[in-house]
Symmetry: C2
């Protein structure tokens, strides 16, 4: 006997495929759409139907672009400095950096991080294309803006080796205390980095 | 300038309509569907398209049923005792109670709880239909299985008044310590109820 109608159970199961969504959360989403806001169903369906077909990748930076567009707006914009590249793991990292409003160079999306456990080797990432860009765009600085994780660090190290003795400044995002975090609640490693990278006043 | 392609931004916005989903979570869902599991998009679209049209309400219990079905399986099942009714606020409460495997009566879904703040008065709930069922099905016990919240309590009180002096046992789910919860972490009110409702051994 079905406690819930199959049409509802299938929506719950489909939501359950999303990352971090358990059965209870999936039930909440499904019930919300059913009872409180049936109009959202159409919005979600219409948006999802366009999803895979509407997206492409920038041929230079591998950022997400509307399908059919060859280069990212952030790359072609003449106000962006093509000689400075921020290297990020995933396209959404660009959104986070753009929100700071402090970076005026261009991006390069690796498409992941080196992670032997997940079977991702450096040859699956857009590292060769980065090195090519360094030569083509006369790049003066590469900012390795990967996560401060084991994968982020080892990917950064690998890229550094690939860049070799090209005359380019290679930098890494600063690590230390997060702004607004109490020292007593900071994790050991961040606190250690904050000591290592302390600034003379 | 769009940092993200419109096709992706629209999926993020649509997911953002779901309860408790902020922009970061919506981004995670959209990116997961795009990069890691494009097949899930079709599953989700297919399921959502069937959602509103595939669901109906039981004419007696107001539980969710497949469209076109008049009565809930849990109501028509001859093994279920129609003389005992568990009154719940929402259809998913039935799922939670069924999981205990301890209740063999039938259900009555109110469709919400009395909540003046949200503009929900008792006349919008299926209370008149409950009273009618009590008479028609010769009900001997009504278990008011609404939440132990202000709304749950006041709805239970209102129903009790509507049942009036009909010869029917009216009960309420026991309140006290949650099983497995340390006494020192229990909230004051639950601990207070646990004292009030203490059982003689």
């Amino acid at each position: 006997m079905n406690i819930l109608p199959p049409a509802l159970q299938e929506v719950i199961d489909a939501f359950g495929l999303l990352p971090g969504v358990g059965p209870r959360t999936a039930e909440r989403y499904a019930y919300y759409l059913l009872r409180r806001d049936p109009n959202s169903i159409h919005k979600l369906v219409a948006a999802l139907e366009e999803l895979p077909g509407g997206i492409g990748y920038c041929q230079k930076t591998f950022a997400l672009v509307p399908a059919g567009q060859e280069l990212s707006d952030l790359y072609t914009d003449p106000r962006r400095d093509k000689t400075v590249i921020a290297v990020v793991a995933e396209p959404f990292d660009i959104v986070a950096i753009e929100k700071t409003g402090q970076f005026h160079g261009t991006y390069h999306v690796l498409g992941g991080l080196v992670s032997p456990i997940d079977g991702i080797g450096p040859e699956q990432l857009h590292i060769a294309e980065l090195v090519k860009r360094i030569d083509e765009d006369k790049v003066v600085e590469v900012i390795l803006a990967t996560n401060a994780s084991v994968e982020g660090e080892s990917t950064a190290l690998y890229i550094q080796q690939q860049i070799g003795d090209r005359k380019v400044i290679i930098s890494r995002l600063a690590q230390g205390l997060a702004v607004g975090v109490d020292l007593e609640y900071a994790d050991q490693i961040s606190l250690g980095r904050a000591f290592d990278n302390r600034q003379t006043l």
